[in-house]
Symmetry: C2
Subunit: 335 residues, 2 copies
């Protein structure tokens, strides 16, 4: 399991557009207690409205890691960012990135990390070593968010459910499986970076045996309907052995994104397929509701869609952004 | 794609028991034309009945690689094997192993390989880099062997089908996905060593577009019914986009091996499940027959079992070892 040193100093580079800083805003909103401050290059203009500290000031206040919270334009790290990252290492902070480009591919950073005794953590690439899945049932309850496609709200839904359960005083842990989720949780396993033989084993390790009343809320990945990523989804599903799944969907998405030849089937079929595949490792798996990313619908269209879907599927239907996930929390408590 | 330098010198270590040399016997039987000779330590007594050559003699006759064809007792490489492997490198041969222990974990071998400019090839661990699967249909026909479990004849069946098609003068290529298969074919992709995100992409790369009448016969891995390895099976299935599958089964196996809580369902259910999952990337996928490992049955029991199964499933049922795979080749030609 990958464990990050908290609290964080969030680095915004020389970003001038908020949407380039999605990771930083996500961390501010979902783990405010783990975020100490922000820092950026003088040329940057985006702010998170957090205290602004240099790496050295942040380290003095107990920061553990500088998180690269911005996506570099063009995908490659500008030279002046490297200077800022080096300064963070020299101040005693780990530097953490979820970018495709590896921090460890820059000799300058590798040398600085060695000198300082700090880590360069490439969250997207740190697969780690896991055993083969046992398939054995373990104590505690597990819920997994699954999807009709990638990138339509599985992480957000899992975070919202975790928060809703905690707000009721229940024991719940968000289990992160992707780079942003891992930064939010401070730990997790980047499921898509694991070796194929050990995906299900990694998923078992991610949500170990727990108290009978405890909920592990596991961030889903990919989709069983995806021609490239279904294997990741399946390994995570089998290893998680979820008691409950929540299906995440965006009604504006008619085919898999970037795969126009792969239509998304009727949602009842999708649910049945997930339950069939998931039943291998948990015969009592059930779908407890849907989480809809309805950003493409106006309020009236959303109300109509939701009512129709609830009546067809006989399941609660939420949009976490519009109205929260209380009906899903209700269903989990009733498990 | 991993490509090995042929022909091979097969190394038997100091084995005194034939069954420890399964890999070497498999290579002799399935790619005799790629095997030049055998070599062993003086303490060994197993022979493949091939010419016996030292690494230097084999290199002089054109050998490209020494293959470790024996499993070390206890799993760890004895010191005197290392001397033999070092001698092979010094003679200019690559050293190839499918063992769990990596050749590259022995500094002595790494140094010798560097000096000689030869490769240490750990077939089991060489994942390579692949793109994300496109899901796009490609020319040529593909058949994938699938199974109710691991280790019950998927490689053997694929090799037998390839041979049967070639014997009919048809264009056919065995596509290797595991370590022994890769040694036999001289190339392939160890599917279980790939990064999860790229399993299906690796499977697409393994059987690229080909002539319309050409058959890729793809070695299956694992089982969709396996709680630990189903993800590997699924990625291979999706990326292979097979037109035809052959289900491999051992009637003596009532549950997944080493997973007694996972019973093997009726075979019609298993076939339907593979076709359902496989239909994502090839809507015309069909099962063209069964390959049974009937070693646990006597001749009468096998005849009875085969007739009953053929009448229930309405599909040809073969045991490649007892009577070959001609009915499967017939079904493929009729595709």
């Amino acid at each position: 399991m990958l464990v990050l040193r908290q609290p964080y100093l969030l680095y915004l580079g020389d970003a001038t557009v908020k949407s380039d800083c999605k990771t930083a805003f996500g961390l501010r909103d979902w783990c405010r207690e783990a975020v100490l401050a922000e820092w950026s290059h003088p040329a940057g203009s985006v702010t998170l409205d957090l205290p602004r500290l240099t790496p050295r000031q942040a380290a003095a206040k107990g920061a553990g890691s500088l998180i690269v919270g911005v996506a570099p334009t063009g995908g490659s790290l500008p030279e002046h960012w490297l200077d800022d990252l080096e300064a963070a290492l020299e101040a005693g902070l780990d530097v953490v990135s979820g970018m495709h480009t590896r921090l460890t591919s820059f000799p300058k950073l590798v040398r600085a990390a060695e000198r300082a005794g700090c880590r360069l953590v490439d969250v997207r690439h740190t697969g780690g070593t896991f055993g083969v899945a046992s398939g054995k049932k373990r104590a505690g309850k597990r819920v997994l968010t699954v999807g009709t496609d990638c990138a339509l709200g599985k992480k957000y839904t899992a975070l919202a459910i975790t928060r809703a359960l905690k707000n009721r005083g229940l024991a719940a842990t968000f289990r992160a499986t992707g780079q942003t989720g891992i930064m939010i949780a401070g730990e997790g396993i980047p499921m898509d970076a694991t070796i194929s033989d050990f995906i299900a084993g990694a998923a078992e390790a991610l949500s170990p045996a727990n108290a009978p009343g405890h909920f592990d809320v596991i961030e889903g990945q990919g989709s069983l309907l995806h021609p490239a990523y279904a294997a990741v989804t399946l390994g995570l599903l089998h290893g998680s052995q979820p008691d409950a799944i929540v299906l995440c969907h965006d009604p504006a998405r008619l085919t898999i994104e970037e795969y126009p030849d792969f239509p998304i089937p009727p949602l009842q079929e999708v649910i049945d397929y997930y339950l069939k595949v998931g039943s291998l490792t948990n015969g009592r798996i059930r779908c407890i509701g849907l989480s809809i990313n309805s950003s493409a619908l106006d309020e009236a269209a959303w109300a109509k869609y939701r009512i129709e879907l609830e009546s067809t599927l006989k399941l609660p239907v939420c949009d976490p952004v519009r109205s929260g996930v209380e009906p899903l929390a209700d269903a989990l408590v009733a498990l």
